[in-house]
């Protein structure tokens, strides 16, 4: 991509009437997640590390929000605070107006690593949340099987996680989280460990599921394309300390498809994200202090 093509791109803030109408509709929905002055400091031997500082954000019901930012900017810390797996130093998180205090089934979570219970079959993994909330075995099984079918793994319902591929495991993890009927689904780089092709399939899969389920999704990624492809809005964080850099309304219309990766709106958004996350474009030319270790006439470039 040359700079000329970038120069011809529209402003990423410009929205087509349909997209604008869609955002209007989203904003009319009630606020499901309210984040106020969220701050998290870690005290380490080297002193206090401020992982997150004064994050303010709101998500509306059934919105798909992606969180993006450089490595170590506090994305995982952020999502763990929302899940209640960690507690903020200051500020608070409200879900449906109720302050988050500890983990609960109203906030489902899909982790980057594989966290299926290895001693339970796929079906029983998906049943887990329902059973924990006191649902009877027969009904839980019936619901779980519907989920297993929805993620296309009916053939593997009685398999153990060790027998599944990485992509299949994450599909089960998503089904397991959604079967527990959460208000919001928190996902921390869920596809990070998958190869590009599987990842693409999983993204389309997730969008389809989201369309059919009444759930709000907060999705962490460091993949710019993934964020634009999935999100209604992108929360861009900056590092040291983790603060809100910008909140971008993605101008790419829905329904999304992989062809849109080269649409002008997509590219415009992508360029903006790149500016935000890798601010110094000139740094690419920075020379590393490496001695020449090859023989003359053996150059690769």
């Amino acid at each position: 991509m040359t700079d000329d093509t970038f120069a011809l791109l529209p402003d990423y803030r410009k929205q087509s009437p349909e997209v604008a109408a869609r955002f209007q509709k989203i904003k009319e929905r009630e606020v499901i997640l309210r984040i106020e002055n969220l701050t998290r400091e870690f005290s380490t031997e080297q002193g206090t590390v401020t992982a997150l500082r004064d994050i303010d954000f709101q998500a509306h019901r059934r919105e798909f929000v992606c969180v993006i930012g450089p490595s170590g900017c506090g994305k995982s810390t952020f999502i763990r605070l929302l899940a209640g797996l960690d507690y903020p130093t200051a500020g608070r998180v409200l879900l449906d107006g109720i302050e988050v205090d500890g983990p609960g089934p109203d906030r489902g979570m899909v982790f980057q690593g594989y966290t299926l219970f290895p001693w339970l079959t796929v079906k029983r993994n998906v049943m887990f949340g329902l059973r924990m909330q006191g649902m009877g075995a027969t009904q839980a099984e019936r619901e779980a099987l519907q989920w297993v079918e929805l993620i296309g793994l009916d053939k593997y319902a009685e398999s153990y996680p060790a027998q599944l591929s990485g992509g299949m495991k994450q599909r089960v993890a998503i089904a397991r989280a959604l079967a527990a009927n959460p208000r919001i689904l928190l996902m921390d780089e869920p596809f990070g460990a998958l190869d590009a092709q599987t990842r693409g399939q999983m993204q389309s899969h997730l969008l389809q599921i989201w369309k059919h389920v009444d759930v709000t999704i907060l999705f962490i990624t460091h993949d710019l394309d993934e964020a634009i492809y999935l999100a209604d809005r992108i929360l861009v964080l900056k590092a040291n300390p983790g603060e809100v850099n910008e909140i971008i309304e993605v101008p790419v219309p829905r329904p999304r498809s992989p062809e849109q990766f080269v649409s002008p709106e997509f590219l415009a958004t992508r360029r903006r994200l790149e500016e935000l996350i890798h601010p110094t474009a000139g740094r690419r030319e920075e020379r590393l202090p490496i001695f020449k270790l090859t023989q003359a006439g053996d150059e690769v470039e």
Partner: protein
């Protein structure tokens, strides 16, 4: 399929080679034993007298040192008397493999010298019951306690410091005390096995439980698991396979304590049999009995390993970190070093 080498760091060998090596690992010691027993010039420091000749203090069947044998015969020859005849032999405490093999059968058939003493099979069975009760009682208390310590810091901090201290006290040191309190029969022996197993067990099980993946606990919490459910539905099943393998190791240790335990109070079981046979200088029986303990131990472990695979189907043949001897011998090797 790349050509498989015998020596590759961190790579498992194919099944046929594993089996071959496992067989060799038994054959090599037996072969060394056989060589020392049957090849005269390797050791054989003594002579077994077949005909004492004119040496007054030699008797047929005696074993005498080679040097003495030569010296006496030289004297006989010098004096014109008939020398002793004999064959090179090993000391009586090293019977040959075939003698032990025969003893394997005859030991069961030989009645005890003193009426009222136990036959071999009775001795073995008695030992097994002592181990069983000592280990079972310890496990019934030790495993739940260990899991509680591993799961809850409260129990860990309250119980483990003392257990840590107590485990350094050698179990046999409690022998006299156990006899004073529990009498001279089986109870003090069971108590020694218990003391020897219990304290290690609590600590090992607690550590295994602590190694449960924290992400699994977090995942369960976001699915609405309460504290009690977290314990029963996640901690316990997540740790159970490794605990099972810990128990297999601990059972092996219990056999070590058995030998001490059986000397306490009224000596009994396989230890009694072995010491009696040693006193009668039936070292073939001694060896047979020692090897029988090994076979029982190895056999038990094989059965437990086989059961483990059936009890925990999700493990698909892979043992826990402390997989037993056999698991490492015949099963696919765990690559602890390379995967963690």
């Amino acid at each position: 399929m790349p050509k498989s080498r015998w020596l590759t760091v961190g790579k498992e060998l194919p099944a046929n080679r594993r089996l071959l090596l496992a067989v060799l690992s038994f054959l090599i010691p037996v072969a060394i034993w056989g060589a020392v027993s049957y090849v005269p010039f390797l050791w054989h420091p003594q002579v077994r007298i077949e005909d004492p000749g004119d040496v007054l203090y030699f008797d047929a069947g005696d074993r005498v040192e080679l040097a003495l044998f030569r010296e006496e015969n030289q004297r006989m020859l010098d004096a014109g008397m008939s020398p002793a005849q004999g064959v090179r032999a090993n000391p009586v405490f090293l019977p040959a493999p075939h003698e032990v093999a025969v003893a394997f059968y005859t030991a069961f058939k030989t009645p005890p010298r003193r009426t009222g003493d136990a036959w071999l099979h009775e001795s073995l069975w008695h030992s097994i019951t002592i181990i069983f009760w000592g280990f079972t009682l310890s496990t019934l208390i030790g495993v739940p306690l260990g899991v509680m310590c591993g799961a809850f810091s409260l129990f860990s901090r309250l119980i483990e410091p003392f257990v840590e201290f107590f485990r350094y006290l050698p179990a046999p040191a409690f022998g006299a005390l156990a006899v004073a309190i529990l009498g001279i029969n089986d109870a003090p022996k069971i108590a020694i096995i218990f003391i020897g197993t219990f304290f290690q067990q609590v600590l090992i099980v607690a550590n295994t439980t602590r190694r449960v993946e924290p992400a699994l606990l977090e995942a369960a919490q976001t699915l609405g698991a309460s504290r009690a459910q977290l314990f029963t539905r996640v901690v316990v099943p997540a740790a159970i396979t490794d605990i099972y393998n810990d128990l297999r190791i601990l059972l092996g240790w219990a056999w070590t304590y058995l030998i001490v335990a059986e000397l306490i109070g009224r000596s009994s079981g396989i230890t009694f049999f072995i010491s009696q046979q040693a006193r009668y200088r039936n070292f073939d029986n001694v060896f047979a009995a020692i090897i029988m303990i090994g076979i029982i131990g190895l056999g038990t472990d094989m059965v437990l390993s086989w059961m483990g695979k059936r009890l925990f189907p999700w493990k698909t043949g892979k043992g826990g970190r402390l997989a037993g001897f056999l698991g490492r011998l015949f099963g696919p090797r765990e690559q602890t070093v390379f995967t963690r």
